[in-house]
């Protein structure tokens, strides 16, 4: 992820800024131009809670180079109380303990480093609640 691309995504990655459709009221993350539910095009800003529930998940054993040290790790589709869905890594857990229905908190973490001398990329990961 080159620096400018990371920088452009700061509002959604670092603050979980989402949007709420004015016609059907669904919350969508990250923000888009056309509502996937009703094809509406008018939006209000919405912020996501730092909690959620696992909808579905998988364990990554063969990881991309930047994530090799973290394998095996869980990648999960998380639904927040607002109804938005986002794909997050699940951290601080035993991978086999994570599955549909697992309650999670969202915590600010380092997502990856651009090699040994590039920028550090931050964002959110899910952590089992409790």
């Amino acid at each position: 992820m080159p620096s400018p691309r990371y920088w452009r995504a700061i509002p959604s990655r670092l603050r979980l800024e989402a949007v709420r459709c004015r016609s059907c009221e669904n919350v969508v993350y990250p923000s888009r131009r056309i509502c996937p539910h009703c094809h509406g095009t008018e939006w209000d800003p919405a912020e996501l809670s730092r909690t959620g529930e696992v909808v579905t998940s998988t364990i990554v054993h063969i990881a991309p180079d930047d994530f090799a040290m973290e394998a095996p790790y869980v990648l999960a589709l998380i639904e927040t109380p607002e109804g938005a869905r986002l794909m997050l890594q699940v951290t601080d857990c035993d991978p086999e303990d994570i599955g549909p229905g697992t309650a999670v908190n969202l915590e600010f973490r380092r997502i990856r480093a651009e090699g040994n001398s590039g920028i550090l990329c931050y964002g959110f990961k899910a952590v089992p609640a409790g």
Binding site: R15, E70, T91, R109, R110, Y122
Partner: protein, 348 residues
Amino acid sequence: MAGIVGYGAFIPRHRIRSEEIARQWGKDAAAIRRGLVLEEKSVPGLDEDTITISVEAARDAIERSGIDPLRIGAVYIGSESHPYAVKPSGTVLIDALGIGPEVHVADFEFACKAGTEAMFVALCLVESGRVEYALGIGADTSQGAPNDALEFSASAGGAAYIFGAKDLLVDVLETYSYTSDTPDFWRREGRFYPRHGGRFTGEPAYFKHVLSATRGILKKTGMDPQDFKYAVFHMPNGKFPQQAAKQLGFTKEQIETGLVVVKMGNTYSGSSPTGLAAVLDVADPGDKILLTSFGSGAGSDSFVLQATDLLPERRVTGRKVWSMLDTPVRYVTYGEYAKLREKIILND
């Protein structure tokens, strides 16, 4: 009068026991427990650093304060493990928490006392009227060299404090600082691990500065040790703060709530600020609290604080320090620890 309007702390979930480190290097674990009074220490995950710990602690602080983050006019993070050598940790934090861009940001460094340094400057900017609210943070993911005594203590965590002039959770009644050129512990530019002067870190360094700063603030305020419900001294290990407390006339009961080092290790810049957070988690209105930090090099900052009526109702949200220390923890082996702390040389 200015004081604390919000506070928060964060401690990573991984732990390594003193026995596991002792086993690796053929040392006597019982002697470590007895001599350094350390049971286990926190270990950061591969995805945790000073920035992530600061953001999590500061988020709880903002929630407890109830203020709009845009009103925070200054942000200072004290750490000796800022992830970037050049690019302030605070820049990432303000964008993550919705602070700024109308905000003054700087990173501080002063070995283990960079946190209270950040708190002191944040407090003074509010007192001067220059900013409405200011955020001071102490956080670290400190490294001890393998097979060094520091490896039993160097750990990860931090605490964040928002200072303001109204709706205070804690009054700051007085401050006092004491600093000198004392080369007890240092890390040269570009070196991975710090060096220290062994026994020299005790008498002329830790004890001289902690005792002088504490005696200085007691004299300045005309207060005695028995006037305080709680006291927190910097915790390089479990033994030093207990010895300092005894020499100053404080009791075991006054320091045990803030003595987080036994389970957490020494989180350097986050050490005494996290001890203070543990005290604020339980303090009653009117309780007086003494805080004295220590940073090698060397210096100490002392604060006399008093809990207000607002503290109990505001602290119900947010994570409590002792609950983060007691549950849930993930114990790692020395091998996993070496991987998490990036002590293993890998191929590109």
